[in-house]
């Protein structure tokens, strides 16, 4: 690993009433690194993301963010220190416009709590939102109510809201799920370029191997709550365990990476 670890996870374990959802997870993520998390449904990917962002408390183990222990932290505290996330099903304010959604995100990202009593639509906040909308190609939807927008645009908004506070670590849970195949690369290009500019480390859960191969520096492959492979994509996608447990045996021999990459869902 190069660079300072922004995330350090050690011996992380989570069980629900005796059923193990995550076991013995050890991961380091460097500043600005992009890590893909793959695995079949129920492999423990989202449980892992939920533990880092404070939605679930680990049964045991430790999570460090920039050298600070954050195990069991509350989601809002995780956000405040720079660990943000987007969701598999976009979590936006459906009855508000795109601008209003971003205005709320920008105002809550402000360090000055007393500024929350100032009018929401201040000139500075609107300018900041316009920059975000431009970066994420949301300007044309500025005054549209979110529930009228396509899934792809909502995903973009969801991610844009998560990054307005300039997080050091962003967790994306299936950023392209529900997005049409025409839109998915456009969406990911937009998002990953913007995040690269910000120098944000990214951990993203994804089923689409084309997306994974194209954007990540490293892959974490999950199977039954454990990491079975932690390697760069060209190595990980040829790994026999990844092929057997994640991609499926039907994808053929380990060296046939092209067929495996194009397989889509695990």
């Amino acid at each position: 690993m190069t660079g300072t670890p922004v995330l350090r996870v050690r011996n992380l374990h989570k069980s629900f009433a005796g059923i193990v959802a995550a076991s013995n997870i050890n991961v380091d993520v460097a500043d600005g690194e992009v890590v893909g998390i793959i695995g079949a449904n129920g492999a423990g990917k989202t449980v892992f993301v939920n533990m880092i962002t404070g939605y679930l408390k680990p049964t045991s183990g430790s999570i460090e963010f920039s050298g600070r222990e954050i195990t069991g932290i509350r989601p809002r505290d995780a956000t405040r220190i720079g660990v943000c996330r987007s969701f598999q099903i976009s979590q936006v304010f459906m009855t508000m416009t795109v601008l209003e959604n971003l205005l709320i995100a920008v105002s809550l990202a402000g360090k000055e709590r007393k500024s929350l009593l100032a009018p929401l639509r201040s000139r500075e906040r609107i300018r900041e939102c316009e920059q975000v909308m431009e970066r994420y190609k949301l300007t044309e939807h500025r005054d549209n109510v979110t529930r009228t927008l396509s899934q792809g645009v909502r995903k973009l908004l969801d991610i844009a809201m998560a990054v307005v506070s300039n997080p050091k670590l962003l967790l994306l849970d299936e950023p392209t799920s529900g997005v049409s195949s025409d839109e998915k690369f456009r969406l990911m290009d937009l998002v990953m370029n913007a995040l690269k500019e910000q120098g944000t480390a990214v951990l993203f859960v994804e089923h689409d191997m084309e997306i994974v191969q194209r954007y990540v520096d490293r892959i974490l492959a999950f199977y039954q709550g454990e990491i079975v492979c932690d390697a760069p994509p060209d190595v990980a996608l040829k790994d026999p365990k990844v092929i057997e447990y994640v991609l499926g045996e039907s994808h053929g021999p380990a060296n046939d990476s092209e067929s495996a990459l194009g397989a889509g869902h695990a």
Binding site: P75, R76, Q91, I104, L108, M161
Partner: protein, 318 residues
């Protein structure tokens, strides 16, 4: 602050509307003046419920705070002899807001029917205490003597009416400014998506708590106003669950569209009830209930939606 308030069209229209009401009030006979004051008192309480409604919460127990405000006025007079409007309203707001702050720690964790009924349970505890305690006036309650305004004893009810109108302007302006602030916008945000609010770094529980305390304080002030306008406090007319029901009734009748709507709804309700009682003393509830049904069926956004209808028609004429 004042410039910011006056740049808001709703606030300008609200001030103009209340100014007209204050002027027209000089022509009102006593019974209309009284009814309007009762309506304004209910309007203040409903303004607080509107904040909760916009957050996606309904309280069936705001008579707790309404009654606390009313009893604070009566007990302040009984034990200190204070009759000044500022002291009375200050006491009403402090007692109700303080209680709302304490109970808010429990209620902020509940949603939906649990939030609504837990509020009601607290209000019924107060009702029970009041009915059974002689020192608190039991079922008879207390009478409240005429309010003084900064040491001046008015000879008619109009100065009190004027003071209440002024109070409504302050409350409406305050709530409107709050709703336009980032913190105020969290009302809709919490209703729409609690998860996103938490993941933007703000506590949903705190957001709900703040709104709950504001609504409790407003209901307390409303109870204080009612005690001063009515000159009497007793458990049945101030704390009983039927009072909470009336407040929810007016909230639905008014609609959540504007901070002015609660006052229009409450004054309409007060006069509707008076005329219904005049018309059918033993079945007035039928008329009031039927009206609410009509509003729900034909104006789901409440009486306030009439203003949108009128402005749409105006645009068509142009």
């Amino acid at each position: 602050m004042i410039r910011s308030a006056l740049s808001d069209a709703t606030i300008r229209w609200t001030i103009a509307g209340f100014l007209v009401l204050a002027l027209v009030g000089t022509l009102f006979p006593n019974w209309i003046l009284n009814n309007t004051m009762f309506g304004l008192a209910y309007g203040l309480a409903v303004l607080g419920l509107l904040l909760l409604w916009r957050t996606g919460l309904v309280s069936f127990g705001h008579a707790l705070y309404f009654g606390m405000g009313a009893y604070a006025v009566a007990l302040l007079e009984r034990y200190t002899g204070a009759t000044d409007i500022v002291m009375r309203l200050g006491a009403a707001m402090t007692v109700a807001g303080g209680t709302g702050f304490v109970l808010g720690f429990v209620l902020r964790h509940y949603r939906g029917i649990f939030f609504a009924m837990l509020s009601m349970a607290f209000s019924m505890v107060l009702y029970g205490v009041l009915v059974k305690t002689e020192a608190l006036g039991s079922t008879d309650g207390f009478s409240v003597s005429q309010t003084t305004i900064l040491g001046w004893q008015p000879q008619s009810k109009y100065p009190l009416f004027l003071a209440i109108v002024g109070l409504c302007v302050i409350a409406t302006t305050g709530v409107q400014l709050y709703l336009h602030s980032a913190l105020g916008h969290l009302t809709t945000s919490v209703r729409d998506n609690e998860i996103r609010v938490e993941y933007l770094g703000y506590s949903v529980a705190t957001a709900i708590h703040v709104k709950y305390v504001i609504s409790a304080a407003l209901a307390g002030v409303a109870g204080g106003v009612m005690a001063m306008a009515l000159g009497q406090v007793d458990p049945d007319s101030m704390v009983n669950w039927t009072v909470s029901g009336e407040l929810v009734f007016i909230t639905i009748m008014a609609g959540p569209g504007s901070v002015v709507a609660p006052f229009i709804g409450a004054i309409t309700f007060e006069f509707l009830r008076t005329f219904a009682f005049e018309l059918a003393p033993h079945a007035w509830q039928l008329i009031v209930g039927g009206t609410l049904l009509g509003i729900i069926f034909f104006m789901p956004e409440g009486l306030w939606s009439l203003t949108r209808l009128i402005s749409r028609k105006r645009e068509k004429v142009r």
